[in-house]
């Protein structure tokens, strides 16, 4: 059965008689899909402009944006469409961070209250994700996104970012993953837990867990989830396979530490999207992602990556004002 959105204020503008997919209006943007493509339209210079994305890539990108709550900074679905998080409101843009569109004046950006855009994005996911397609999984692990409407997969798309207060496994904190199976690419990862011995009276004050085991049981790809909190310093490791479904332009510096295997990062200018570098990271490599770039990773084998964030709220303004350099260290 189709999902109804009347209660959430989502603007459904129609349902295609042949494909049976709903179309959505969000401000001056429209979203529709067919057998192969997601289509986004907007208006510029009194004309309609439109952009097509392969629907599998679109749904993978949308899935991350929803699960991350719009994340940090810019989440580019591709070289045209994306969102910018203002932590309370969110910009949706078309072409605004593409040098050619921007120069031609055919880009469009609109600001939304976070719950409004979130509910619409969730509604699109619920309507457009068919039975058997998991937009959180790698292509080899899941079915097809293509074709006419065929059921849904609400279970897959209602998984969110794990919130951890200090460390998983501590009392009252996020759980370990003993109830999830080891991913097919991580069958060789040791599953032993550390020995933790507490003297009487100190039970529960010392704690440890097997982080690599925890990651080997991650049931999603490209989804940074917090595993340790040192004030605003957040370790957010994740398991990566195929392509990061977005080109992430952060509003602050972040760091990557490759824990296993290999990822290739395509680095481009944050503002206009022009290519800047390719960074190839192997086990033990650690590198900064400066605050003035966007990046997209590719991982053939499912790999373990530590994403390290500084969640201090005033950082975006300090970068934007030029007070902070986009590069974390000078040498």
């Amino acid at each position: 059965m189709t999902v109804t959105f009347e209660d959430t204020g989502v603007n459904v503008i129609g349902r295609d008689e042949i494909t049976n997919y709903a179309s959505f209006q969000l401000g001056k943007f429209t979203f529709s899909r067919d057998e192969y493509f997601a289509k986004i339209t907007w208006e510029a210079k009194n004309e309609e402009y439109s952009h097509l994305m392969s629907v599998d890539a679109f749904l993978r990108a949308l899935m991350r944006d929803v699960a991350w709550g719009f994340f940090y900074g810019w989440v580019n679905f591709d070289h045209v469409i994306g969102t910018q998080n203002h932590y309370g409101t969110v910009d949706l843009y078309a072409g605004t961070f593409n040098g050619a569109f921007k120069e031609a004046g055919v880009d469009y950006v609109e600001n939304f209250e976070t719950p409004v855009i979130m509910e619409t994005f969730k509604a699109i996911l619920h309507d457009w994700v068919n039975e058997g397609f998991d937009p959180f999984a790698a292509p080899e692990e899941t079915g097809s996104a293509f074709g006419r409407k065929n059921g849904n997969n609400s279970e897959a798309i209602d998984r969110y970012r794990i919130a951890t207060k200090r460390m998983p496994g501590l009392e009252g904190d996020s759980p370990l993953r003993d109830d999830l199976p080891v991913n097919r690419h991580f069958q060789d990862v040791a599953q032993d837990e550390p020995v933790v011995y507490c003297e009487p009276g100190f039970e529960g004050e010392l704690s440890g867990f097997n982080l690599f085991k925890y990651l080997s049981r991650s049931d999603v790809t490209w989804n940074p989830s917090v595993t340790s909190v040192c004030k605003e310093s957040l370790f957010c490791p994740t398991t990566e396979e195929y392509i990061l479904p977005v080109f992430h332009g952060n509003d602050r510096v972040e760091w990557f530490l490759q824990i296993s295997d290999q990822i290739t990062w395509d680095i481009a200018d944050k503002v206009d999207g022009s290519p800047i570098a390719r960074v190839i990271m192997k086990a033990g490599d650690i590198a900064a992602m400066p605050a003035n770039i966007r990046h997209q990773g590719a991982s053939t084998k499912r790999s373990m990556l530590l994403v390290w964030e500084n969640a201090t709220p005033d950082i975006p303004d300090r970068y934007a004002s030029g007070e902070l350099s986009p590069y974390p260290v000078q040498f």
């Binding site: 200090r166 501590l170 097919r184 690419h185 991580f186 990862v189 040791a190 837990e193 550390p194 020995v195 933790v196 011995y197 507490c198 100190f202 004050e205 010392l206 704690s207 440890g208 097997n210 982080l211 690599f212 340790s228 909190v229 040192c230 004030k231 605003e232 310093s233 972040e254 760091w255 530490l257 490759q258 824990i259 296993s260 295997d261 290999q262 290519p275 800047i276 570098a277 390719r278 960074v279 190839i280 990271m281 192997k282 086990a283 033990g284 490599d285 650690i286 590198a287 900064a288 400066p290 084998k301 390290w308 964030e309 500084n310 201090t312 950082i315 902070l324 590069y327 974390p328 040498f331």
Partner: protein, 165 residues
């Protein structure tokens, strides 16, 4: 079923990646390898390999016994290679350093506190180093640990020696 081999790094077996520059400089990425850093460091030298304002990640070669450390906030350790034992003391109140002092500090030869217990970490294992405790590492063979903390008096910066330039 297909067999996949997960490639982890170690002190004696790591392969450093690379940067292909189109625009800008390799130094923009402060790119190093934690095993290379630990291989070229003295035991328990706390080399900063990641820095985001005051917050840091240190790569440390664990070998033999470390001094006692303490911090006013939680820190975390991940064993990346080898095996490390961490012993903990619950410091008496007057031995706990004040909250405004951040980062790892030395806790003295024999810190004033009660034995809390210990953890034994192998590759991939993580432990919390709780605020207000003292802790000491011990490794019978050269090992590599990562520390998540705040820049402190023991942290060493040597970006030119460790990063692609």
């Amino acid at each position: 079923m297909d067999i996949y081999t997960t490639k982890l790094g170690s002190l004696n077996n790591y392969e450093k990646g690379s940067i292909q520059i189109i625009k800008g400089a390799k130094t923009d990425y402060a790119f190093s390898n934690i095993f290379e850093v630990a291989a070229n460091a003295q035991p328990y030298e706390k080399t900063i390999v990641g820095k985001n304002l005051k917050f840091i990640i240190e790569s440390v070669r664990a070998e033999g016994q470390s001094p006692w450390y303490t911090a006013s906030h939680d820190e975390f350790v991940i064993a990346m290679d080898g095996e490390v034992r961490v012993d903990f003391l619950k410091l008496n109140e007057d031995a706990v350093i004040p909250e405004e002092q951040e980062g790892t500090h030395l806790a003295g030869e024999q810190p004033d506190g009660k034995v809390m217990g210990y953890v034994l970490l192998k590759q991939g294992h993580q432990a919390i180093l709780p605020a207000g405790s003292a802790y000491r590492f011990e490794a019978s063979k050269p090992s590599v640990i990562l520390i998540q903390t705040i820049q402190g008096p023991l942290s060493i910066e040597k970006w030119n020696d460790i990063c692609f330039t």
